[in-house]
């Protein structure tokens, strides 16, 4: 059967699951064939109905924090938001560490369009080798597609701007049609671009070469990763760079449906994290207290012990937890919690938003409950 891989925001729709898993990268394979979570209460196996009932009892009348969500479907995210409203809970995913709202307003481009016409790709604070392993081969550098038929050496130019020489940077450095810029300050790199355009001296001399390459084509893009989105306090100067160079911007946040969560939250609440009890934005400085203050945390499709700073994840381990997840997680293993096992999203059906904003439909291929089913049951019980 053909499935959409949901292990990262490339959302590869060409994956074939037969006797073996074909075309998915190692990260995707780990999701598709990974060890599944078991439904349990405090470590003891339990039925779905029982776990839902106990979970609901835990939530009723308590201060609830809902966390995770960026790896589940748009439909599940919507229901989670409804639960947050109804139970006056706090809701957040991992995006509170980024300053992404302003970046999403920049001119952007669909990956297929870039594949067919794009020339210069600038990976800035982004190492797709880890976060989106097939991004270069599917869309950015290697495909011979549309107007780009001559192969990467003639028809593409890969730039990596990063603090360290990542695996992607090594490819750029090795290639005749690539360049690695080792940076220690994102602002200085932005300023360097602007200064060279204005004919002034700058810190990062390599930008002159990049600007020359940009002139060769109309479609060029910056792929900004967590490194960039974390470090820049605002997008003002970056916006100037985009305007002056005419390049497009695509965020490369790796969680499969990170963009779906962000778009839903901005549309429905105006913010990335929200406290419905206080009916206000949950700003970065209030996150620690929100974790401390909650009685119960509902964790959806996430393993906070792997993804959150220790000071936050540690607090969660001391709370009552309801964990809705498909694959085994550390948090479920080391805590006494209500764990509800769901189908992995490549089989569960629904939709997700790819990093470039394209909605990808996922066909339901399994009878097992999805995150969406469980969240609905939790509301309705």
């Amino acid at each position: 059967m053909r499935v959409v891989c949901t292990a990262c925001s490339c959302l590869c729709d060409d994956v074939l699951v037969k006797d073996k898993v074909y075309h998915a990268c190692r990260k995707g394979f780990k999701l598709i064939k990974g060890e599944r979570e078991e439904t349990s209460i405090n470590g003891e196996k339990s039925s779905l109905e029982e776990s839902i009932k106990v979970a609901r009892d835990l939530i009723d009348g308590k201060k609830l924090l809902i966390f995770g969500l960026d790896n589940t479907t748009c439909e599940a995210q919507e229901v989670a938001l409804k639960i947050a409203k109804d139970f006056e809970a706090t809701i957040l995913d991992h995006s509170f560490i980024y300053n992404i709202q302003e970046f999403l307003k920049l001119p952007s481009i669909k990956l297929e369009k870039f594949r067919d016409e794009g020339y210069v790709s600038i990976f800035w604070g982004s190492n797709p080798h880890n976060s989106m392993p097939r991004l270069l081969s599917r869309f950015i550098y290697y495909p011979r597609s549309g107007k780009r038929q001559k192969g990467y050496e003639e028809d593409r130019f890969l730039v990596v701007a990063d603090l360290r020489k990542s695996e992607t940077a090594k490819i750029a450095e090795k290639s005749k049609s690539g360049l690695f810029i080792k940076i220690d300050n994102d602002y200085e790199l932005i300023k360097s671009f602007i200064r060279v355009i204005e004919g002034k001296a700058c810190k990062y001399l390599e930008v002159a070469k990049v600007l020359k390459e940009l002139e060769k084509a109309e479609i060029n893009a910056i792929f900004g990763g967590g490194g960039l989105l974390r470090n820049l306090k605002d997008a003002k100067l970056f916006k100037e760079l985009i305007e002056k160079t005419g390049v497009y911007f695509v965020p490369t946040l790796n969680k499969a449906n990170h963009r779906g969560y962000i778009e839903m939250m901005i549309k429905k609440t105006g913010f990335l994290a929200y406290d419905f009890k206080e009916d206000t934005n949950l700003s970065k400085d209030k996150i620690l207290n929100a974790f401390k203050d909650c009685d119960v945390a509902l964790i959806v499709a996430s393993d906070p012990l792997r993804t959150l700073p220790y000071e936050l994840s540690k607090i969660l381990t001391e709370k009552k937890l309801i964990i809705i997840n498909s694959l085994k997680s550390i948090i479920a293993k080391i805590t006494k919690s209500v764990v509800i096992s769901t189908e992995i999203s490549p089989f569960s059906g629904g939709s997700m938003i790819r990093c470039d904003g394209v909605k990808v439909q996922i066909e339901r291929q399994s009878e097992k409950v999805s995150d969406l089913d469980v969240l609905k049951m939790l509301m309705e019980v």
Partner: protein, 155 residues
């Protein structure tokens, strides 16, 4: 893939000549390119070399495996990014609508295919490095971010 120095370090290093070579170093080179066999080094088969011989046998088995396919993939390093599959010019020519544009390769007997998260060599006879009109193509190896690909004849 082991290099001659790694092999040499494990040999007796006495230059006894029993293998027919003047030095253990030249024996190491010939062992790697298949001109000599481990059994040609007689001292290795005394008891004191039991542990070392086992290590050498392991290293040589990697070389043997590579010779069967001509191309060796280090599965531990491979992340299944498919840079090699998509950049391979043969795949572009034979599967322009899939591998050529970055999608999973769909022809029956490709050179390389991603299976269970890592690249697998399926049909090396299509590779430009082999056969009648061979060229020194290194595209797949050059574009592997983890150095997971090696060609036997370059080792």
């Amino acid at each position: 893939m082991p290099n001659p120095m790694e092999i040499y370090k494990l040999l007796p290093k006495t230059n006894c000549g029993k293998c027919g070579e003047k030095t253990c170093m030249s024996f190491a080179f010939k062992l790697l390119n298949g001109e000599k066999k481990l059994e040609d080094c007689k001292p290795l088969y005394s008891k004191e070399y039991d542990v070392i011989r086992k290590k050498l046998e392991e290293l040589i088995s990697i070389v043997e495996k590579a010779k069967e396919t001509g191309l060796i993939i280090n599965e531990e390093l491979c992340i299944g990014c498919a840079n090699c599959v998509v950049s391979c010019p043969v795949h572009v020519e034979k599967d322009p609508k899939n591998a050529g544009i970055g999608r999973g390769i769909e022809i029956d007997e490709p050179i390389l295919r991603i299976e269970n998260g890592v690249v697998v060599v399926i049909n090396l006879s299509l590779c430009r490095r082999y056969g009648k009109n061979r060229t020194l193509c290194v595209i797949c190896r050059e574009n592997c971010p983890t150095d997971a690909i090696a060609f036997v004849e370059e080792l």
